[in-house]
């Protein structure tokens, strides 16, 4: 889901080399077609496309049922769609804050509800969800986006607590800065990782049955420090 996002493409390319069978969901048909051709050329055994806006939860159950039918069985679900949003606008206008939460939080919750139950019934499966380091602590520069990711982290913690014992792996992926269209307007610095580095980390975390993974791993240390800053100091920082 969010199959035209840079991290999803990079992850799928690696899986295509192993002849995976894909069901791809995204909004733009021409972009989805380009991704499908790329994956098929690189070795995907089959690709099914579904052009839809994931903001509408009513469409999720039929879409996921059709994915399960097309694939025969879902082994791995990757939820990769999201928007960065405009913090300036979101802090003055609630409706734009709500739009961010709808895309980044409510939509994944709806998808994870269906998928969590599907995998639990199947007694296997991996639910990998792209969150963000921004969900670790609210900062003035992007706390609405951060809220969507932070709340998502808590939801995934709870879901994991419920379905892990049923053989389901719930993986929370927390990337730092990644060089993607979402961050194209930001000035690149040494902390930016390329999408393939993140993809490699995601597949490694799945193999190792991890619960939460910071990518690249240096962000685990950075966020440990940031979470540890006392409020008395943190509230005075410009972050």
């Amino acid at each position: 889901m969010g199959a035209t996002s840079a991290i999803a493409i990079a992850t799928c390319r690696r899986l295509a080399a192993r002849n995976a069978n894909f069901y791809l969901v995204a909004r733009s048909e021409p972009k989805l077609q380009a991704v499908a051709a790329d994956l098929l050329t690189r070795g995907a055994s089959a690709v099914t496309l579904n052009v839809m806006d994931l903001d509408d939860p009513a469409q999720h159950p039929p879409m996921l049922a059709s994915a399960a039918a097309a694939l025969g069985q879902i082994d791995l679900a990757l939820i990769a769609h999201g928007v960065l949003g405009d913090q300036q606008q979101a802090q003055s206008d609630y409706s734009s804050a709500e739009a961010i939460l709808r895309t980044n939080l409510l939509s994944p919750i709806s998808l994870c509800t269906w998928l969590g139950n599907y995998f639990a019934a199947q007694r296997s499966g991996v639910l990998a969800v792209i969150s963000s380091v921004a969900g670790d602590r609210g900062r003035q520069s992007n706390y609405v986006y951060g809220t969507s990711k932070g709340a998502l982290n808590i939801f995934l913690d709870g879901l994991r607590n419920r379905v892990d014992r049923l053989g389901v792996q719930v993986l929370t992926i927390r990337p730092g800065f990644v060089a993607t269209p979402m961050t194209a307007h930001l000035r690149r610095n040494a902390l930016f990782a390329d999408p393939d580095t993140i993809a490699r980390g995601i597949l490694q975390a799945i193999r190792r049955r991890k619960d939460v993974v910071y990518l690249p791993p240096v962000w685990a240390a950075i966020m440990f420090v940031i979470r540890g800053i006392p409020q008395a100091i943190f509230k005075k920082l410009n972050m």
């Binding site: 840079a6 021409p30 380009a34 991704v35 050329t41 690189r42």
Partner: protein
């Protein structure tokens, strides 16, 4: 640029634009002051591959390294490759690059079946030798100025092994180089390394290398990623006639026998410098200039190359690994393509301000006197009159330049003298 559909943007910038691939050109064909660069590296998707014919269609931002990573395990190789695999397909077309097999198969553009060209007015042109042939011809070697190439179709060649059957032969002097080249006319890949520092009886000594793809089937394993990175900018004094002379003497004498044969992996054969990332830092902060000329046969090739070599040797500025190669007579498909039948010489110079610049001007003049030309992809110094003399067809080409596109190179070489 992340998708071909991103171009042209809804509102065009007021300043000129220029598509850029990997940014590996040595000069300013991939630069533009006060303009907008259209970075194409994210247009790296493959569209289709037919293992029966070896025809690959991919977006223009894919690098040759990415194509090799995909194609070699499937038993295919690039039809033509330059000395680095870290260039994009779009860049390879825009500079109509050549490789060690030029004498047999010509430039990269000759192996191009078709491509799509996007113009800033929203026109999409499918270009091939049969369809929009004038745009096909202008865009190959067109330095990115005719529009944005979104995807291209190239014909790969089959291989059964990663190995190259290799032969290295030492020579002294251009007579011997020319004789070796004639004798190796049917060898798939030929190139010579030349010592531009040695004088006297060692003048123009070098090693003539030839190779062909091994025909003994071997497992086609993927390459390992390069992991060596040159860690620092060397200080300017590190490269001096003594250290370079020492390196060249060691390199020349590494091969003891007059002739050496064996098998070598394609990576070190084609891409010796790619194994050390950021090798350019060896030239220090001030960087390097490349010089590449071709001198045609009919103008006393040898005397032209000899005069250039004498000027370089006398300057004391030469660095390691000058490369000498015979270009064949396969016509280049681009209006502004560089290769033509003759001998081409390429080498690096550390930038030492006026000293290097004066030498470059002298070399350009000798090249012109002998009916040769310089390679825009590697150039940072040729003057507008020099370019216009090397490429008299530039005015015809100018009609195809997208009105919203320009480059630092193009501005430099088209200004009125």
């Amino acid at each position: 640029m992340h998708w071909a559909s991103d171009f042209p943007p809804q509102s065009l910038p007021a300043t000129p634009m220029l598509p850029v691939g990997a940014g590996r050109s040595y000069g300013d064909v991939c630069l533009l002051d006060h303009g907008t660069l259209l970075t194409t590296r994210s247009l790296d998707r493959f569209c289709h591959f037919d293992p029966a014919t070896g025809i690959l269609r991919c977006e223009a931002g894919a690098t040759l390294a990415e194509i090799l990573e995909f194609a070699v395990p499937r038993g295919f190789f690039l039809p033509v490759t330059p000395g680095t695999k870290y260039v994009t397909v779009g860049g390879a077309i825009a500079n109509d690059v050549h490789g060690k097999n030029h004498h047999l198969v010509g430039t990269f553009g000759r192996h191009l079946l078709r491509f799509e060209l996007l113009r800033s007015d929203g026109t999409r042109l499918l270009c091939s030798p049969a369809q929009n042939p004038e745009w096909f011809r202008a865009t190959i070697g067109g330095m990115g100025l005719t529009g944005l190439i979104s995807w291209a179709e190239i014909r790969l060649r089959p291989i059964v092994s990663r190995q190259i059957r290799y032969q290295g032969t030492k020579f002294v002097g251009l007579e011997e180089f020319a004789a070796l080249s004639r004798a190796a006319a049917h060898s798939e890949y030929t190139v010579a390394w030349l010592d531009c520092v040695a004088r006297g009886r060692n003048f123009a000594r070098g090693i003539f290398m030839q190779g062909q793809h091994s025909e003994e089937p071997q497992p086609l394993r993927p390459s390992k990623p390069a992991h060596l990175t040159f860690p620092i900018d060397l200080p300017e004094f590190a490269l001096n006639p003594f250290s370079v002379g020492l390196f060249n003497a060691l390199y020349y004498n590494k091969q003891l026998a007059k002739q050496k044969t064996g098998f070598v992996d394609y990576e070190p054969f084609f891409y010796p410098l790619d194994s050390v990332l950021q090798w350019n830092r060896i030239y220090g902060k001030s960087g390097l200039l490349q010089f590449q000329c071709v001198i045609p046969w009919e103008h006393g090739t040898q005397s032209g190359i000899v005069r250039i070599l004498e000027a370089i040797t006398a300057s004391g500025l030469a660095s390691f690994l000058a490369v000498l190669k015979v270009f064949g007579d396969k016509p280049s498909p681009g209006l502004l393509s560089f290769p033509m039948p003759g001998i081409t010489l390429a080498l690096d110079f550390p930038i030492r301000q006026q000293l290097s610049f004066a030498l470059f001007d002298r070399l350009a003049r000798i090249t012109l006197e002998h009916g040769g030309k310089l390679y825009p992809a590697k150039d940072a110094r040729m003057t507008a009159p020099q370019f216009q003399a090397f490429y008299p067809q530039w005015r015809e080409f100018a009609q195809y330049v997208d009105p919203r596109f320009s480059s630092a190179f193009w501005q430099r070489v088209t200004q009125l003298a």
